[in-house]
């Protein structure tokens, strides 16, 4: 048993050390790298705590995409200002003490609370697993996400659309660095990798019904494919024709979710209460639309602004 406990202790130590490095490292680039490493170790922890769905999502979105966003922001930041010497954060020393005193107070209170949680742990495991066969899927997490608490997921897909609207309202997308690395090797990889990502995304969506996976993990892979397209320098080309398509893809997820919810409601059932026999089909329909919207949204977040079309501002989004 000691090997497993050793592994857990190592995992815990790694988490703490990486988090400490990510917050206090003087060199910003190393802080970002520590954060991405933290995301990967966290994915490992989710797997260790029997949450494979979360491990997939954490690795793809938590460390992968967030890391890509941060590195892109770091690249734009160092382009703009000459790389100022990365001394310790000015004035941090002054604010250091109150910050860490607050941290110790929060840690003390929180650990006291979580350690004194009641021993027969309360939870909804039985209720969730009891009505699993009525939910249309056998993976309990997907059942909770798309059936028991589907209203939360609907609002969450609303948050995704909101994020894109917010980013588009803030600025026109900055041109990616000229001369971004594009050699034959990279194009060869992309030509092979992007179709594979799309297929795997669809695969994850499909197995989400009975094994770890689902719309979010699949969408994260599609998002990754979009990031590769943007980074690989594959020219995005004049967007005029395609902006309407992109825009439709972005709001399709939320629209299908609400449509299915309202559709299910008309025959005097509650909102989003699927008829049991067609539950799996409806969930699949919702997840497919969500998959596309999530992938495009994560791509747009990486793109960092609204795609300006060639023509005048009026016809652009």
């Amino acid at each position: 048993m000691t090997i497993v406990q050793l592994f857990d202790a190592l995992l815990a130590l790694l988490l703490l050390w990486l988090a400490w490095r990510a917050v206090t490292d003087a060199v910003l680039f190393r802080a970002v790298v520590s954060f991405v490493a933290l995301g990967l170790v966290l994915a490992l922890t989710w797997f260790r705590l029997q949450a494979p769905d979360l491990a997939l999502a954490e690795a793809a979105v938590g460390s992968g995409l967030t890391g890509a966003l941060m590195l892109a922001a770091l690249r734009r930041r160092s382009d703009r200002s000459s790389p100022t010497p990365e001394g310790p954060v000015k004035g941090a020393a002054l604010r250091q003490l109150p910050g860490w005193v607050l941290a110790f107070v929060i840690f003390g209170a929180l650990s006291w609370a979580v350690l004194s949680l009641p021993i027969p742990a309360q939870g909804l495991t039985e209720e969730a697993h009891a009505s699993l066969e009525k939910s249309g899927v056998t993976n309990p997490v997907t059942a909770v996400l798309l059936n028991y608490r589907s209203y939360d997921t609907l609002l969450e897909i609303g948050v995704l659309l909101l994020a894109v609207v917010a980013v588009w309202s803030l600025r026109v997308a900055p041109r990616l660095r000229p001369g971004s690395p594009s050699g034959p090797l990279l194009e060869g990889l992309l030509r092979f990798l992007i179709p594979l990502l799309i297929i795997t995304g669809g695969y994850l969506l499909w197995i989400g019904a009975f094994a770890p996976g689902g719309a979010f993990q699949g969408g994260a892979l599609l998002g990754g494919a979009c990031v590769l397209v943007l980074l690989g320098g594959l020219t995005v080309g004049p967007m005029t024709g395609r902006i309407v398509l992109l825009r439709t893809g972005l709001w399709a997820g939320l629209a299908v979710f609400i449509a299915v919810g309202l559709g299910a409601m008309t025959s005097d059932r509650w909102f989003l209460e699927y008829p049991v026999e067609r539950a799996k089909l409806l969930i699949l329909l919702i997840e497919t639309a969500a998959l596309i919207s999530i992938g495009l949204t994560l791509g747009c977040l990486f793109y960092g602004g609204r795609p300006e079309s060639g023509s005048s501002d009026r016809s652009s989004p």
Partner: protein, 102 residues
């Protein structure tokens, strides 16, 4: 349970949350504060998953897992918006073309 020491992970979750909170209040650099907020989020998610593992015997509780999945997606949305804002606040090249001073 597969013997994972849940108390350890609960404490690590609390530590991550506290470390992130200190980072958010302590720092001025926007990018560091984005990292700190994400670490706070990871701390809360670790708490939730450890709580989920506490109850389930060999079947963990799916409800906190769904909450964490929602949290991860919301966190990446917030990070995306925060990084664009950090970009705009850092350099002046944001497209604030002739928006009248309001």
């Amino acid at each position: 349970m597969n013997g994972a020491p849940l108390e350890l992970f609960l404490l690590v979750g609390a530590a991550l949350f506290a470390c992130g909170a200190a980072g958010v209040f302590r720092d001025a650099e926007p990018l560091r504060r984005v990292i700190a907020v994400n670490i706070m989020g990871s701390g809360v998610f670790l708490l939730l998953v450890a709580i989920a593992a506490r109850g389930g015997g060999d079947r963990p509780d799916p409800v906190p897992h769904a909450m964490v999945l929602t949290g991860i997606v919301v966190a990446v949305c917030a990070t995306g918006v925060a990084l664009v804002l950090a970009d705009l606040s850092g350099g002046e090249e944001g497209d604030d073309d002739d928006g009248e001073r309001s």
